[in-house]
Subunit: 319 residues, 2 copies
C-alpha cells in the first residue's frame, strides 16, 4: 500500500528531446528536466539512467514509466518498430535494461497511449466506456482507453488513428507510404498541403497568402483568417472537415464517450465548428452525448501517463 | 456448475423471420425453427414466448439469449434504436418482459455482436486480443471482441463499421442519411450502385450486362465474370477495393488479429485478392499476421452467439 503513495519517475522520449520528472497521483512533483535526445540507443539509455539517478537523490521512487515514439511490446517493454524519429531505437529491450540497472519496476509505453492514460487520469475519465485521444501535430497520433484500460491490438499497434483511410483518391501520399491517410489531410503537414493546393490557383490579389506559398507557415494562415482573409478562412474550414473525417470513422467503430485533442494544432481548432461537423456526419445514436475536449496537459501528457501507468500497475499487480 | 452444462435457447429476430433453437457449448442441439416476424412488439414477444415454451418441453433450459437488429442496452436488455426493419421495436424492455414471463435469465444483444461472439467461440478465437466480424449483406454490420469481451461503446453503439467514412466525395448517400459510408460502397446495395454507375457509360457490345441495368442483379455480375466478361471483372475488382477501404481504417484503429466475414456477399468474395489489397493498404506493423476468415456459421451465428453469451454469463456471473 505504501508503494502507491511514492512517486514514479516519468520519462518521455521524443525525436528532439527527452523530458523527465517525478509524478504522483496528483500530478507532477518537480519541474521537468528537458535535454536534447542523444544519438543511438546506448546514449539514450545512458541519459535515462542519469535522469533516474538525479531524481532518486531527493525521492524514494516506486517505479519508472517511459513514454516513447513507436510501437512498444507492453509485456516485454521492447521497442517493436515505426520510430523513424529515433534511429536505431527499434529492437531495444528498454524495460529489461532499465530494470536490471536500477532494480526499479519499469513500464514502457507508446507516447500516444501514455497521453490518453494521462488525460483520462487527470480528467477523471477512467470509468468511462471509451476515451480516444488524438495528437494533432506534424502527424496524428492516437490512443484509446476502453473501460480504463489501454486498447493494445494484436501486435501492440491499436490506435494508429492517423492512418485511418478517409478518401479513395490516391492523391495524398502519407509519410507512412500509404495514400489517403487521415494525417495526410488533417495534421499540420496536411493543412500546409491543403493550403498550397488552394493558394496555387489563386492570385495575390485574392489573398496575400498566395504571394509566397513555398515559404508559407500554418501560423500565417491563422493570422490571415484573423484579419478576415476569406481564402484563409476557407482553408481553415476545409481543414476542420478533414479533421472530422477521421473522427467520424473512429466514432462509428468505437462509440467513444469523448475525444481529447492535444498537440500543437489543437490550440487553433475551432471546437464549436468541429463539434457541429462531427454531429452532422455521424449517426445520432453515436454522436449523442459525445464530447470533444482540448487537452490542457501540454507537453506533460507523456510523462504523467507513463508514470501513472507504472503506479497503477504497482497498486494492482494483476492488471 | 451444473447450470453451465444445460443448454440455452437462442433466438434471432430479423426483419423478415425469427429463428430459434437450443444451443450448448458444442453448438446447436435441435433443428432451428424459422417463423415469419409478426407485426408489432407485442406479437413478437408473444412469438418468443411460444418458441421458449416449445423448447422447454424437451430441455431443462439454463437461460435465453436473444439476438436482435438495432442498438441494445446490454445492462437492461432494452432496445434503444436504429431498428427500421422492425417497426415499433425501439423502447421494448425485452429482457424485463421475457424474464418476468419465463423466470429464466435472459440476455439481449445486437445481432452483429452476437455473430462475432459466435464466431470467436466456435473458432476458439476468444483468447485473441481483437476479433472483428463484418456482415456483408444488404448493408454492413460489425461486431468487435477485445480480449474475449464485446466492445460496447458509450451508448452501446460500438461496431457500427458500416458507417466508417471512406470518401469525402459526398456522392453516395447511405440509408442512414450520411454520405460516403463504407456500406454505401461495399455492401450488396453498394456493389449494385457501382455496377449501374459503370454500366451506364458502356454499350451492350462491351458487356451484355449493360442491356438492362435497371433489372441487374448482383448475381448477374458474378455470372458474367465467370464467363470472362471484362467489365464484370472490373466491377468486382473495384468492389473488393471498396471492401478493403473500410477494413483499412478498422485495422489501423483496432489492430485486430483477424476479420471474420459473413453475410450473403461473403460467399462471393475473392479472399486472396482481398487479403493482398488489405496488406497493400495498411502499415506492415498492422497487417503483419492479420487473417481474414469466411464465416461458416451461416444463418446460425445470431442464435449461437446469443445463447453462448447467456451461458457464459451464467458460468461467470461477474463478467
Amino acid at each position: 500500500m505504501l508503494k502507491t503513495k511514492m512517486p514514479a519517475i516519468g520519462i518521455d522520449l521524443g525525436g528532439t528531446k527527452i523530458m523527465a520528472t517525478t509524478v504522483n497521483s496528483e500530478g507532477i512533483i518537480d519541474d521537468p528536466i528537458k535535454i536534447p535526445t542523444p544519438k543511438g540507443p546506448e546514449n539514450i539509455i545512458g541519459q535515462f539512467l542519469e535522469l533516474i539517478e538525479h531524481f532518486k537523490k531527493n525521492h524514494i521512487v516506486a517505479g519508472i514509466g517511459i513514454a516513447t515514439a513507436g510501437i512498444v511490446d507492453g509485456s516485454t517493454g521492447t521497442i517493436m518498430g515505426a520510430t523513424g524519429n529515433v534511429p536505431g531505437w527499434t529492437g531495444t529491450p528498454v524495460k529489461r535494461i532499465i530494470e536490471s540497472k536500477t532494480l526499479l519496476p519499469t513500464y514502457v509505453v507508446n507516447d500516444a497511449n501514455a497521453a490518453v492514460y494521462a488525460e483520462a487520469h487527470t480528467r477523471k475519465l477512467r470509468d468511462l466506456k471509451c476515451v480516444v485521444a488524438l495528437t494533432i501535430g506534424t502527424g496524428i497520433g492516437g490512443g484509446i482507453l476502453v473501460n480504463g484500460e489501454l486498447l493494445q491490438g494484436a501486435n501492440w499497434g491499436a490506435g494508429h488513428c492517423g492512418h485511418v483511410k478517409i478518401s479513395m483518391d490516391n492523391k495524398r501520399l502519407c509519410t507512412c507510404g500509404l495514400f489517403d491517410c487521415y494525417e495526410a489531410y488533417a495534421s499540420g503537414t496536411g493543412l500546409a498541403t491543403t493550403a498550397r493546393e488552394i493558394l496555387s490557383n489563386i492570385s495575390a490579389d485574392q489573398s496575400p497568402l498566395a504571394k509566397d506559398i513555398n515559404n508559407l507557415k500554418n501560423s500565417d494562415i491563422f493570422e490571415a483568417a484573423d484579419k478576415n482573409d476569406i481564402v484563409a478562412k476557407q482553408i481553415i474550414t476545409l481543414w476542420h472537415k478533414h479533421l472530422v473525417a477521421g473522427m467520424v470513422s473512429i466514432a462509428h467503430i468505437l462509440n467513444p464517450n469523448c475525444f481529447v485533442l492535444s498537440g500543437g494544432l489543437s490550440k487553433v481548432i475551432d471546437y464549436e465548428m468541429l463539434f457541429e461537423l462531427l454531429v452532422d456526419s455521424t449517426m445520432p445514436a453515436i454522436s449523442e452525448n459525445v464530447k470533444i475536449y482540448r487537452s490542457d496537459l501540454g507537453d506533460h501528457a507523456g510523462i504523467i501517463g507513463a508514470a501513472q501507468l507504472i503506479l497503477d500497475k504497482l497498486a494492482k499487480p494483476s492488471a
